[in-house]
Every structure is written in structure tokens, then in C-alpha cells.
Symmetry: C2
Subunit: 546 residues, 2 copies
Amino acid sequence: MKIALAQLNYIIGDFDFNTKKIISAIHDAKAKGADLVVFAELSVCGYPPRDFLEFSEFIESCENSAQQIAKECVDISCIIGLPTKNPKIEGKDLFNSAYFIENGSVKAVVHKALLPNYDVFDEYRYFEPAVDFKCVDFMGFKIALTICEDLWNINDNPMYVTCPMDELIQEKPDLMINIAASPFAYNHDEERVLILGDNSRKYKLPMFYVNQIGAQTEIIFDGGSLVFDEEGALLDEMPYFTEAVRIYDYDQGKIQGLEAFQHEPQGDIEQIHDALVLGIKDYFQKSGFTKAVLGLSGGIDSALVCALAAEALAPENVMAVLMPSEYSSDHSIQDALDLVQNLGCKHEVIPIKEATLAFQNMMKPVFKDLPFSVAEENIQARSRAIVVMAMSNKFGYILLNTSNKSECAVGYGTLYGDMAGAIGVLGDVYKTQVYKLANYMNRERDIIPQNSIVKPPSAELRPGQKDSDSLPEYDTLDAVLFQYIELKKGSESIIQMGFDEALVRRVLKMVNVAEFKRNQAPPILRVSPKAFGVGRRMPVVGKYAG
Amino acid sequence: MKIALAQLNYIIGDFDFNTKKIISAIHDAKAKGADLVVFAELSVCGYPPRDFLEFSEFIESCENSAQQIAKECVDISCIIGLPTKNPKIEGKDLFNSAYFIENGSVKAVVHKALLPNYDVFDEYRYFEPAVDFKCVDFMGFKIALTICEDLWNINDNPMYVTCPMDELIQEKPDLMINIAASPFAYNHDEERVLILGDNSRKYKLPMFYVNQIGAQTEIIFDGGSLVFDEEGALLDEMPYFTEAVRIYDYDQGKIQGLEAFQHEPQGDIEQIHDALVLGIKDYFQKSGFTKAVLGLSGGIDSALVCALAAEALAPENVMAVLMPSEYSSDHSIQDALDLVQNLGCKHEVIPIKEATLAFQNMMKPVFKDLPFSVAEENIQARSRAIVVMAMSNKFGYILLNTSNKSECAVGYGTLYGDMAGAIGVLGDVYKTQVYKLANYMNRERDIIPQNSIVKPPSAELRPGQKDSDSLPEYDTLDAVLFQYIELKKGSESIIQMGFDEALVRRVLKMVNVAEFKRNQAPPILRVSPKAFGVGRRMPVVGKYAG
């Protein structure tokens, strides 16, 4: 039996696009001799469809697509993922299902039992968990077919009280197939290899695991589909961040012609780089846009975003706008111009002095002689937002946001100012990681000017301002933030680790107070296990500070 | 047995505040002869605590508060709500629980079985559902104690496969107590009376139902706690939108001294009014702010928000900023000034001409002679946002957002411009409801100038502009939006109702395309069964348009 794994990039709700792509992969796989092509979880509609699932016409479109796909399954079978209706009155109205299609019709339907409902996941919002389990017979083999999370309940603190494979194994299946929508985080490839290998070892079965690739707004799927032998040894790993279809030969109870090897993870920074490039690219392609605009300050964050955008969209599609003020240093402008030259992207220089003077005059009757404060600082940041948004509105550029995760965390940014943008490129990348990423961008030649990398970070909103005037040094700040955000430790636990008590309390309070800002921030490309946005849901009005 | 129902207003994560409030109510009830005081769901930490629940120090604080409360229970018992740890390894780590406290210690713990995970609810994100059910014995009576959703599975399309009362009824309880966190929507009081009465009738038991009141950012709890006799007749209904404690006499199997009556719902508009006033008030009080700022255009939306804010915060705490441009009509300025005078709130007039001229000059080298477009319109809206945010930054005013639900739906608003604000007051109120609400505000005297109500709506961002240039008439628009948003009908179903096909397709497309704007909008006070924000989760990048 020849099994093809199709690791593809879908568009949520674009049934024509997804159906055509699936059918085309079926024809290709058939031409190459495959007996079965396996597509990812909810491949028919894209993942995550969110509340589109609550529209019955959306569910009907999924079924219509499945019927179109079924018609193409002549002398080849396939597995696709889609939502299906729960025929019972009790329970939620939908299942998260897989269709096993053979000879032009649906031969078996498998429902997902374990519904992730943590971090970015909301599956119990829509789906009823499966309670019946049955293997699928195909070409004389018994296949234990499961969906993503169904295989993830085998650690020390299982989140669910049932374990689908413990049920399916009663039927003595020959192999396992799992269809997934498993999002990228810089450590998730290693977790996947571990957990799926554990399943193969535990059940003594070969495993075919197919993930999807592609960014869906903030959630990035990285592919890396996997094949294991019946002893849990890794036999193949499909590429990351790119579409691929590979065909495997399963015969005489074994996967033929492959040698076991160790998973060699890419470095975190390299993975984050690849994820961000795909994240930008897919945001634009799937929204139907081609051109990006951003404010280029001469600092490292905007330089890095500019370089990533040039890689994702091509330099000629990136417009960098330099918006110096009276507080901008000369080197900032030069650093920004150097970057533009290194990249070959477009640029404009639009000083903001006229705007800030205008607001100064307009506010004078109200502000009178009150001293310069954050109000005047924010007027600068917001005037810049008006300029780049005007470029967006006039020419169809999409604004990229350049705030990093450290800034987002403590609220060191201006709402409706530098926090503006359609998509946050670095919002899940701590400042200390930003430096590493900038150096990685320069691995072959200097793209980001060294001066942008080595100079002390500054918002340049008042004379001589430095980030360190308002914030702890980034090494310390990021270390505390990681404990609080990624590891969910409270103030007491973090202080017990040896961090300064006053600093910890101050940082945690800043994080919680900034919730109202993050609540209005753009979606942030998720590259860590805990990103701001849909995967971290905090009360805006609430008193708890760790 | 005397049972006190305590319908109180909590602050999420403010353990000192909540604990003191609960203890004070216990002492008061004891002084009035109560044997048992019943508090609402998650009363110890406030509802919804969201991802604070993932912090173990937060859970420990809940337990500490419960122990403090228990110490005060001398010669009186109480029921409080809090998250508790699941001692089993399998399943989620927490339960949503009720403590029954007697003689200074926890006598019984009841866990919630039905975990709402739709609209604004995410309970399965945190909690394991209960599978064991047991009544609580107290003063010789058997109490069937349940938590909110546990009683809501008795309609025609039950969302859950279990029904807790069907289990508890086996023990032949004497009465039911349900502790709730049931949010306001203009139709939800009627649903509550119906569902809880149905429970009393089905199980032939008296019912004591305690809700909470108070706004938690966007979610507003309206109270209206209920008491039913064993035949499902309504015996008492506590007030809406205000704290209250009432004591009931349960003796000889019956609730004594009360007559059955019919629930008389307030009008929708009156309820929405009360909810919005509470929503504004609690946003400010719980955030520690007192003063609001908003842009006052002379139009009906900002006039209405200004009047609601004056009612919630007192007129002297409301700063209305008039920001006329060359496209503002004379009557707009006069209408705004009339409103300010009617309300007695503060105001400033800050024309934006200087700013728009500055941006015009700054953009000239790039825009050259391109015609006036949405870019120039948005510069005006965004310049106004800079002005009101400068007022906020300089003086500590909090900006109120004035966008209505019709605008939010179709994206008729400027991101970082008139879409700015800390809290959206009218974002769940359709334009057709805005008119009704304005007339309601004027029920005793003219507060909102008639001219603001009767003139054709206009953004006044270009000469002679009217909303109807870009949008269908609001009567039609709102009717289509209601079908799509509240009733989740797709385009085909809406067209079949008789609406114009092209109009329906255009409106639904506008709604979906505007998702990226709404994604960065402020939290919106929820007054309908389906508000934009946390209760409606759509992909930002996605192709489906109904």
C-alpha cells in the first residue's frame, strides 16, 4: 500500500481554493502510484475556521466540497478533514471529523475525541467529543485513524479522561494515521517528535502523521509531517514551512526503504525567522495584498521588520517611511537610509515637525504652560501613525507593526501610534531575541546596519531618552517576563528564584496594567508557546498582579 | 430556615475587596436572622477571571479568601463560588466549585458539570466537568446545589449529554439553590425566568437563584436573582443593575409569605440604558479612574454617549471636545454646544484645521496631485483621535468610544481615529436603536438636541457627505445585520427572506472585510445576545462571506 502525505497550505473559508488544491494533489499522487492520500485536519475549510462554524451554510459548503473531492477519488482513496453535523439532539451540533473516501464515496467517518481548548484553541466551543471508536479497513489493513489532539493525552498530567488509541488498539490495527493542525512554536517540533514517537512505541504501530503549513492570521502552521516505525523510530520528517507531498511504501507490516534517524531541530532563531517570513507572506497573499509600509526609525526593531518584509514580499514591495522629529538623532536617519540601501526597498522621508507643531499650537489653550510629558511624546508617535496610515489609505500599502514582545508586555508603546499596524511581526519576539534575529539576518552580509544593533535602544521621543530610563535592562526584563508569561509563575515564585522583589512587582504590574493596550493591538505572529493575543486571555479590568 | 440571597458586585482578582464585601454581607444577614447566605458563582475571585486561573498563586489566593470567609461563619452558614483544584491526575486541573461553609469550615464542595463554552464563555478552557452529584444536608433539609449552566440543559436542543438535576433528584432534595454568573442581554431576563421556572416545574422543587451584578469590562451582569415555588411560580425577583440582599423564609417545605406574580420585563431600550450606565460606571470605578473625555461632533452617537457618561460619572467628570473642521456644518457645532449646556458637562473647542493642513503639506511630496480620497478623510478622524488622546495623556481622562454597532459591523469608521477609545459604549447598539435610546434619554426633558436626532447622519469628512452615500438606509442595513450577526443566517437564507440579493452580498462582504478593524476595536459593552468582541470570534484573514 502506498500512502501519500499531503502537507498543504489552505485558506480559511475559501472552498474553491482548498478543493482545487486537494483535488490536484489527489491527481498528482495517483499519477505517482499512491493508493491513499492523507490531508490535514479541517483541510476542506482551513484551520481555525472559528465562528464561521456557527453558520449552517458554511457547514453545507464543507459537505459540498467533500462531495466534489469524492468524485475525483477513482482508483485512489483519500482522507480529508472537515466539520460534520452531529445527528444526535444531545450535545453540540458538530463534530471535528475525518472522511475516509474510497471509490467516489465516503466509506468511513471518524470524529475527534480530544478537543483542545487551551491557548489558541477553542474546539469545545463548536464540537462534541467522539465517544465511539472504530478502525477503518483499507486494502486488507486496519487503520487507527485519529485527529491531532487524540494522540496527545499520553503525558504525566493528561488533560482528558479518555484516550482514543487505548480504545482503537483493541481492534489490533496495523498502522496509525493522524491528521493534524499543529501550530508552530519554536519548541513544538521537538514536542511533536517526542509525543508521536511515544505513541508508536506504546502501541507498537507505524505512524503516518500529516500536519498543514501556512499562516492563518497570527497562527503559523509549520508542517514537518512525520513517519515512525512500529518501534517509535523516526523514519521521515517532511520539510518545515513549505508545502510538500511524499509517498511512502507500507508493505508486510512495515514501512519500506527508510532508515531511522534522529530529529535535528533547527535553532530557535532560525525557526522564528522562517515562521515570521511565512507569516508575513501568507497574511498578504491570503488577504489579497502585495505591498507593505512601515515606519523606519533607525532602531533595530523596525530595521528587522523591514528586512523580514523584504524577504517575504520582495524589496520592491516594501515602502519604508522615515519620519524624523527634532528628537531624532542624525545617526538614526543614516542608519535607516543604510538599511534601505542594503535591502533595495523603497523609501520616503517625511519629517513630522509640522504636525507636532500644529498639535502643540492646537492644544496650547488647554495645555497652557504644563510641562512636556507623555502627552507630547505620544503626539509624535501618533503623528507618525497618521503618516503611514495615509500612505496605506492612498496607495494600498498594508502597515506592518514593529513592536517587540518586551514592549507589548510592559506597555512601552503608544496606542494608535507605534502600536498601529495590520499584523504584529515581532510581538512574540522578546527584545533579547530581536538582537539574535538581527544577527541571523546578517549571517551572509550586513543587511541591518551594525549601528542599529549596537546602539542603546531609544524611542527618541524626548532629548537623550533611552529605554533604560523607563525599563529594567532587557536581559533582566525578558527573564522576568518569560517566567510570568510563558511559565505562568506568580510574583512570589519569581522572587523566590532570586529576582529583586521590587523589580518583579513593578514588572508584573506593568504587564497587567498594559492589558488595555494589548487588547487593541494588531494580531501578533505567534512563534512561542505563549504569545499575546488569542492565546492569552486576560481581563482588561482586573486587580490581580501575580 | 432563613435563606439570604446576596446579589453583589465583585472585582476580578481583587481578593481583599471581594472578601470584605462577602464577610460584611454575612454579618448583616446574620444580624437579620439568616441561617444561610448565598453568594454568586466565582464570587471569591469575580467572573470571568479568564487566564488568571492558569496561575497557581491565583488559585491559592481564592482558597485563602475562602478560609477567611469560613472563619466568619459562626452561627450562620454560607455558599460561595470559587475555582478549586482537581485532585485527580486525569482531566483539567481545576473545577468551578461552590463551597458550602458551616461552623467555620467547608462542609461540602459541589463542582459545576455543564461548562459553557460559547459566545463570551470559555469555561472548558479551565475546568473539568463534574461527574459525581450529591445533595447537601443542612438543618434537616436536602439541598440540590448547582452552578449556573447546570440548570440550562432543559431545552429542545440540549448542548450537553448530562443533566445534573436528573442525578440530584434521585436523592429527593427539598429545594434547589443555583449560584450564577449570568450576563445581561436585553432578552436574557425573560430567558432566565423561563428556564429556572421550567426547572422548578420539572423537579417540583422551590428554587433560590442568585446572580451577580456589575460590569466586568465588556460583560455586564444584571442581577435579577429569582425565587420560585415548587410549582414553578415566580415568587420574587430581585432588582436589576444594583446590589441587593434579601432574606426568604423557607418552612414546612414551602417559601413563606410570598405571592406568585408574572415577570414584567422592562422595555429593551430601558434595559440597554441601565446596562450602559452601569457598564461605564464600573469600567471607571474598577479601573480607578473618574473622568471621561470624548469627541462631540453634534451627531447623535457622540451626543448619546456624552449623556450616558454624564449619568454614569456625573456631568462635571465628563469632558466633551468639539473638533470642527472645514467640513463641519455650523449646526453641528451648535448642536454639540446645546448638548453640553443641557448636560452641564465640561467642554473645549479645538479646531483641527492646523493639523490637517500640516499633514496635507507633509504628504504633498508623496501624494502630489492625487485627488482627495479616504486618505484625507481618515487624516481628519485620526487628528481628532490625537487631540482627545492628548487630553487623556495630559489630564488622566479616559476616552469613550462612540461607534455604534451598525458602523462597527460594516467598518464605517476610521481605525486609530473615531474607532479609538478605552471602552465602546454603543458598539452593541444598532443605529436604529441609537435613535430610540436618544429619545429615551429625552423622556423627561430635552437633553439630546432634537436637531442631533432628526438630521441625516453624516461623518462630515467631505463636503455634503451623508452616511447614505456609502451605506444602505439604516432600517434596511440593521435588519440585514441582525439576521447575519445575531441569527447567524448566511447570504442565501437572508436573500430568501426577500432582501435584495446584491445588497445582502455587499453588506455581508463589508462585515467580513471589516474584521481586521474590529479586531483592534476597544472592548464593547455587551447588551445583545451577540456582540462584537470576545463573544464573536472570526478569522481576520479568511474568505468566507456567508
